[in-house]
């Protein structure tokens, strides 16, 4: 037993600052005015990080916040030499660090898996369960936005509208949709067509201008009916919403997630839509086959537009400028033309000039 200069001890039960002496023996004894406040086994003692010169100790058997601060240099060295595992608590061990890194990597991988497989899977199952009435509501919202983008620019000569309705009726009959979609032609040079959730199909004048036959337009419209049948909008919406939620919340740090979200959407969106486009093409081929017409002209139209626009700048193609492979696929599904064209020459001429 030897008396050392005063050290400071907090017992973790009260905030009292005990000025203590340390007895170095079988155990480390903390003594105040001859009374032993605590005695710690050497292998229970851990060092804690502390600013300044003092050595701050605690013991794993002591109350959580018990602290012993030693400032005497000799005593510090003495204690350090007697404690076999002094550093264990103050720093995470290498294996603990590795475990943490592994945990984070695992988390990243599982989030990536969730984004890549999980969310599209869930979306494909959730979308069909959403009532049509809800889908129509979403469509109304989107429709209001279309109205803003193309204000007052719909076309409709009487003969052209009649021809278009004839075409749509024939296609819809075979489309297996639980509701009747509507079709509107918009005055715009962009060669495009799109469907809104709930069954509003828009055909842009630019596409009509570049089409050479009714079958080309029929194929495109049948393709849009395919999107409606598969409820691709809802799937995409559910998938995007889920992606935004997962990415946004997990990766955090305020707007940093915004950029990440954008990138993820672009990457996942492309892969996802390649599949949905191909599915819609299959529906188009199926509908055309039931009408005994070939789906190939649609593929030719898309390819023609893609070539003239040097690289898929239109909605139908934009996610995958791979019209050649789509055309090949459509040719495989082709059952040939065994019926007269879907529109007469007069009707086709009227449709081509629907915008006057």
């Amino acid at each position: 037993m030897e008396a050392e200069p005063q050290s400071i001890f907090y017992d973790g039960r009260t905030s009292r600052r005990h000025s203590v002496t340390i007895n170095v023996g079988d155990k480390l004894e903390i003594v105040e005015h001859g009374v032993t406040l605590a005695s710690w086994e050497w292998h229970d003692i851990r060092r804690l990080e502390m600013r300044g010169e003092s050595l701050r100790l605690t013991a794993i058997t002591a109350p959580d916040l018990a602290r012993l601060d030693i400032s005497d240099t000799l005593l510090k060295q003495r204690i350090a030499s007697l404690c076999p595992v002094l550093e264990r608590a103050s720093r995470p061990t290498r294996s603990a660090q590795l475990r943490t890194v592994a945990l984070v990597m695992l988390m990243l991988i599982s989030v990536a898996g969730l984004l890549w497989f999980g969310i599209p899977y869930v979306a494909a199952r959730v979308a069909p369960a959403i009532p049509i009435a809800w889908e129509k509501r979403l469509g109304d919202v989107a429709d209001a936005q279309i109205g803003k983008i193309f204000p007052g620019k719909t076309c409709g000569s009487r003969a052209g509208t009649a021809a278009l309705n004839t075409l749509m009726e024939r296609l819809t009959e075979k489309s297996d949709l639980p509701y009747a979609p509507t079709i509107t032609v918009i005055r715009s040079n962009v060669p495009n067509a799109f469907a809104l959730p709930g069954g509003k199909i828009y055909l842009l004048e630019g596409l009509l201008a570049r089409a050479n036959s009714p079958d080309e337009i029929a194929g495109v419209l049948a393709h849009e009916l395919g999107h409606l049948r598969h409820r691709d909008h809802l799937r995409r919406l559910v998938a995007n919403g889920g992606t935004a939620y997962v990415v946004g919340l997990f990766f955090g740090d305020v707007a940093g997630a915004g950029a990440l979200l954008f990138a993820t959407r672009e990457l996942l969106g492309a892969a996802y839509s390649r599949e949905t486009e191909s599915n819609a093409d299959h529906v188009a081929a199926e509908i055309m086959a039931q009408l005994h017409r070939s789906p190939v002209p649609m593929g030719e139209l898309l390819l023609r537009i893609e070539k003239s626009d040097d690289g898929g700048a239109i909605g139908l193609l934009r996610d995958h400028p791979l019209s050649v492979s789509r055309l090949t696929e459509l040719k495989k599904l082709d059952t040939g033309n065994h019926a007269p064209p879907l529109l007469t020459n007069e009707e086709w001429a009227a449709l081509k000039t629907i915008c006057g």
Partner: protein, 401 residues
Amino acid sequence: MTIAAATDFGSPPATPRDSPVEFAGDRRAFRQLVVRGAFAELLTLGFYRFWLATATRRVLWSSTAVDGEPFEYHGTARELFLGLVFAVAILAPFYLLNFLLGVEAERQKTFASLPLVLAFVLFRQFAIYRARRYRLHRTSWRGIRFGMTGSGWKYAAIAAMRGGLNGLTLGAALPWSQAALERYKMNHTTFGELEGRFEGTGGELFKRGWWLWALMFFAPLAFLLLTATGTKNGFAAASILLITVVGAPFWYATFKAIEWKWWLEGLRIGGMSVSSNLSPRALIGTYWKVAGFLILIFVVAIIVAIAGTYGMTLAGFSMPKAGSKGSIPLPFLVVWGATYLLALLGFGVVFRIYLLRRVWQIVSDSATVHHVEQADDVAARPGSASALGEGFADSLDLFGF
């Protein structure tokens, strides 16, 4: 042991003692910590933020001492991370509801989503309260933990009501609102068995800062009047605009300094109180530095983005023609995204160095704790708090309410 305690240095009550709050932080080490942290955040796609927040707190807490004894922070990154995971799971249905109501509101062009926005405002206040609770429970001094009781929902209700009042009075009620919120927080704050209080009053804060409120209220009014009355007053109008907008760091820093001093002087824990010699000008330099760095980062980011876009064009990638509906090629998105992320990380570093550490240091150094002898013999009280509140706060921050 109790006998020994009773015979300890002299007999209680001890003589009154004051102690300055001492901050002994290493500026360079902190800068290194946050810069490295920012890169780690980039590499881990943001996951590192839990570790960075914890490391930052540990440094700040342990650098700050009262009566020669530093504070200790006991929180862990793992707690924060799990808190977020639970928050994400719990919040998911709310976000779904939010989305559905949003669609409905858009369709009907009504304010159908307003109640939901209000619910999120409430929830955010709840999260703020619970996050404070978590941090206090993970803070100790002299081997005793701080703690916090009270109800997060009650606090949220008070905060929402007060926020409404602030809006209705165009900010005039702010001092009283701040006082009410601080009262609720401090009345439920404990250090061991000592109870906290808040004795700052709204009137006192108003007395110190009313001129700032008047400036922010009347300057835009004067500007509008001057510009409305004609072009003659162009110079006067422009100078008012200059004073309020360009001078914003001045006014905000002054307001924050006044508020900090008022807050410190209102704190009570047991018989302890705090005084502060913080000058209203004390934070102006710091806020100007923040403004300067933010502008610098912004400008650099724009230059980098432009240069990167040009570089990509040279490398053979081209942007879709104007007017066509094409999508932007991925390389451009990558360049812009990377610039954006780096700029954000830069903002984060500036924020942590100046608004966190520097303000912390200035405010701490200004403070003196009186009757610190009252903390000489305080018993601990049991209790703990989860990091869920902080998880909520973290997840909500993202949506920038």
